[in-house]
């Protein structure tokens, strides 16, 4: 029962929550063996990355648009 989610699995779970779809199997694993603080920390990190990528995307679009 020490089927703890690895760092990689935690990351994938966070990304699935961003996407909005997660399999029941992974959800059960996360809720049974995971620690909330791991998900929160990786979640915050991913949210920051998301914002940065949006900013970069907008910059890039503006350069392409010639503004």
């Amino acid at each position: 029962m020490s089927d703890k989610p690895t760092l990689w699995q935690t990351l994938l779970s966070v990304l699935s929550s961003f996407f909005g779809v997660q399999s029941e199997h992974n959800r059960e694993r996360d809720f049974r063996n995971g620690r909330p603080v791991h998900f929160i920390l990786i979640g915050l990190l991913m949210a920051a990355l998301f914002v940065i990528s949006i900013i970069l995307l907008v910059r890039w679009a503006l350069i392409l648009g010639g503004a």
Partner: protein, 381 residues
């Protein structure tokens, strides 16, 4: 079965194509407009419209086909399952891909719309309750543009003309083939300056300056409206743009400046009470009657009656003061920048001598002109 689907989709498409042509005839679609930007907005609108049509055909096609094919009389049995990650992923990815695909051309158009750099002509547009003021910033020219539809048409006492509620006393005259930047703001509440043919619709917000721009290809008259509910006469403050050739525009500028000078000269001569009353009535109906009503009786609780008003019948200095400087915090605006000295003198004279008010004295344009001299714009917020 495949053939059924194809005929279904085919006839559906035929129907929508037909209604699109019919729609053009009824003019219920967006206008393609007369500028580059308005045409790309129109194209974007049509692209997204057809994407929506295609999605609807696919989704409803599958749905109706499933309902028909798996009907109870054929012994269809529901397949009960709780979740399916693969299906959920697919139905999330497809809309995401469609949205991103639509965002690409939309972003291109937005970038174009927001690029107001390198304009050749700057015009400040200021919303007032309920009229627009236009300032040609580099040409020392400004004026108000008021609704010119006769009151009898509004109250159904006369037949309505073609441009009912879309006509003004002074057009916003602009040159064609020139990049014009509009700087939008407001003197009182939030308005929105909207001209469909230019695909320009921008909020005019007190204390803020918004930017919009246009390059008009074709000479012509383009009409629009205030698009942000702004009080009692929100529907009575249209926008009328007249696009003319560059030469005509220069000529118009010269004429407008000359007119301003002759108005200033007119203030210098002596006006009789009758002349002032005549002009005063016109000014009153144009600039004051929306609130104080044509009969001077006002709207109890909102706009005071001027008929029998202690101010209109009292000390002339107090009367002049409220008309020139307004009363801050109320709908009573400062008219010192909105009307010429002659118009101000005329309207004040009119108020003191109309509807049974009968002081019999005239306020002279020279007197007002002297009051206007020392400070300009002091009463503006």
């Amino acid at each position: 079965m495949v053939r059924t689907i194809i005929t279904t989709i085919g006839s559906g498409l035929g129907l929508t194509l037909y209604s699109a042509t019919a729609a053009a005839a009824w003019e219920v679609n967006l206008t393609p407009g007369v500028t580059d930007v308005s045409r790309s907005v129109f194209d974007l609108h049509m692209t997204i419209f057809w994407i929506c049509v295609a999605i609807a055909l696919v989704v409803f096609g599958v749905m109706f086909w499933s309902i028909f094919h798996h009907r109870k009389s054929r012994g269809a049995k529901a397949h009960n399952f709780h979740e399916n990650t693969l299906v959920e992923v697919i139905w999330t990815i497809i809309p995401l891909a469609i949205l991103v695909a639509m965002a690409v051309p939309a972003t291109a158009t937005l970038v174009q719309m927001y690029d107001s750099s390198e304009a050749e002509l700057d015009i400040q547009v200021t919303g007032y309750q309920w009229k627009w003021r236009y300032d040609y910033l580099d040409h020392d020219l400004n004026f108000f543009s008021n609704l010119s539809t006769p009151r009898e048409q509004i109250t159904n006492e006369a037949d309505k003309q073609e441009h009912y509620l879309l006509e003004v006393d002074r057009h916003l005259v602009v040159p064609v083939a020139t990049k014009i930047r509009f700087l939008l703001t407001s003197n009182d509440v939030i308005h929105s300056w909207w001209v469909p043919a230019l695909a320009v619709k921008k909020d005019a917000i007190p204390g803020f300056i918004n930017e919009a721009w246009t390059v008009i290809d074709e000479p012509g008259i383009y009409r629009g409206q205030c698009a942000e509910l702004c009080g009692k006469d929100h529907g009575f403050m249209p926008v009328v743009i007249e696009a003319v050739s560059q030469d005509d525009f220069q000529q118009w500028l010269a004429d407008a400046r000359a007119e301003k000078q002759s108005a200033a000269a007119a203030a210098e001569r002596t006006w009789t009470l009758d002349e002032l009353m005549q002009q005063g009535e016109q000014v009153y109906l144009r600039a004051c009657a929306a609130c104080h009503l044509p009969n001077g009786e006002g709207v109890p609780g909102a706009f005071p009656a001027l008929k029998g008003s202690p101010i209109a019948l009292g000390d002339v200095a107090g009367h002049i003061d409220i008309v020139l400087n307004g009363k801050s915090g109320t709908a009573m605006q400062a008219f010192r920048d909105q009307l010429s000295a002659t118009e101000l003198a005329a309207v004040i004279t009119y108020e003191r001598n109309a509807w049974g008010n009968s002081l019999g004295e005239a306020v002279s344009p020279v007197q007002i002109a002297r009051l206007l001299e020392p400070s300009t714009g002091e009463a503006e917020q």
